[in-house]
Symmetry: C2
Subunit: 275 residues, 2 copies
Amino acid sequence: MKIGIIGLGLMGGSLGLALKEKRIASMIAGSDINEFHRRQALYLGLVDECLDMEEIIQCDVVFICTPVNAIVDIIKNIKSLKANQTIIDFGGTKREIIKAIPKKLRKNFISLHPMCGTENFGPKAAFKDLYKNQIMIFVDIINSGEYQIDLAKNICIQLEMNIIKMDSKSHDRHTAFISHMPHILSYALANMVLKQENPQDIVSIAGGGFKSMSRISKSSGVMWSAVAKQNKSEILKSIELFEDELNIAKTLIQKDDFEKLREWMNNANKLREII
Amino acid sequence: MKIGIIGLGLMGGSLGLALKEKRIASMIAGSDINEFHRRQALYLGLVDECLDMEEIIQCDVVFICTPVNAIVDIIKNIKSLKANQTIIDFGGTKREIIKAIPKKLRKNFISLHPMCGTENFGPKAAFKDLYKNQIMIFVDIINSGEYQIDLAKNICIQLEMNIIKMDSKSHDRHTAFISHMPHILSYALANMVLKQENPQDIVSIAGGGFKSMSRISKSSGVMWSAVAKQNKSEILKSIELFEDELNIAKTLIQKDDFEKLREWMNNANKLREII
């Protein structure tokens, strides 16, 4: 089995390393629009060879691990596939991507979302255990071919991932809450501190709390602005719900109601029960 | 030298373990208003013995590691001290605490803020390396006695901490940005998700981003509501600045200006240069 990986950053590069370690493919090819990233990926051993787009799309299994806008563009340009070919996207949004799949090729496509990552990006950010013990969401899987579903499940199991199924609407709503909007919050926190007169002085005393809250503000703007575009309405909804919640705290502080503020904080502690 | 620790939670308990490991005191006494916590602290070996408040205040060095409202109450009740006694508070806010120090005893007091912690609390949360390699802020130290300053610095150096000096006004402003307000954000994120119809389903797919952003929402509401009360104006100011920044992102998304959103995100990446 020959596997192709389009997009050789954190996600695609780590996938290459993991597939190699598990000896899942006879050959792993890579492709990336950035020439320097192609060279880095080869140098770091993330893939065995680099191919251009027309060639890589001939592989038995093709993973698309680019920002979500590029996933849509790549998918739209696929005109024909062999019956047993499997195209798997790793996009962080799902409705727009699945809408872009040519109807006659629908069975060839598997839409996955690995719920893992770090704030680092590019080929150098790749590491072989990124996917291990993490969640892989299979989205709108009912419309994929049986052969393709079995193959994708098999690969995920070999990567030691935990599989969850979800429809694309729930996916885009849930991930706005759990991932997309929290990224926006972290970017806002970082930008707000950076705008102060003396950000170095402020940040020099940062403890674990600020480090946690600002970590994902170091993530790729190319990737996350594309996610914001494709999941606009759900992200706006969740930002507004967040603003309402923040406003509760602000009002309690303004009104000196620190008893209620403590209750509000204690209520948040209930998260301990589910995560 | 006999050291007393008032408040045997994460901060006080970890201090007890670290002081013991470094053999800094001949005897470490503890005190806590919660009887169960006193017993836990003895069982876990955080302190050598438990004393009541009147007794513990006789120790050569007394650390006050309670929530900030209790620090103020304790300090106000100290009527007399021997010349070489040293009272050190670990409060996360400073202006209100330092204001509460009786003027004639000012030299006996050292106001410190260790920039470390975890989301866990109570004696069971204590661990001996909490302070190692972390920052300790010495606040308004110019008004403390020379003997007390040397003693406090010496202990911090033995705990392998990095010392920074700051005045109380700058401290309260900077920590609002770097610590207090980010805690409010995390609590708001947790509460907002918990209010959804199916929080378990949403949280079940959480990756590293949500885990980072929600971690400190598990912190003690008793501690953080007291901080909010004592640093009200600075926290409200920083919440408003955060809201302005979040609003920039929201407006760019509403106006479909994803180019500018990407620039805004890329700008936040500059945090990499200073942290």
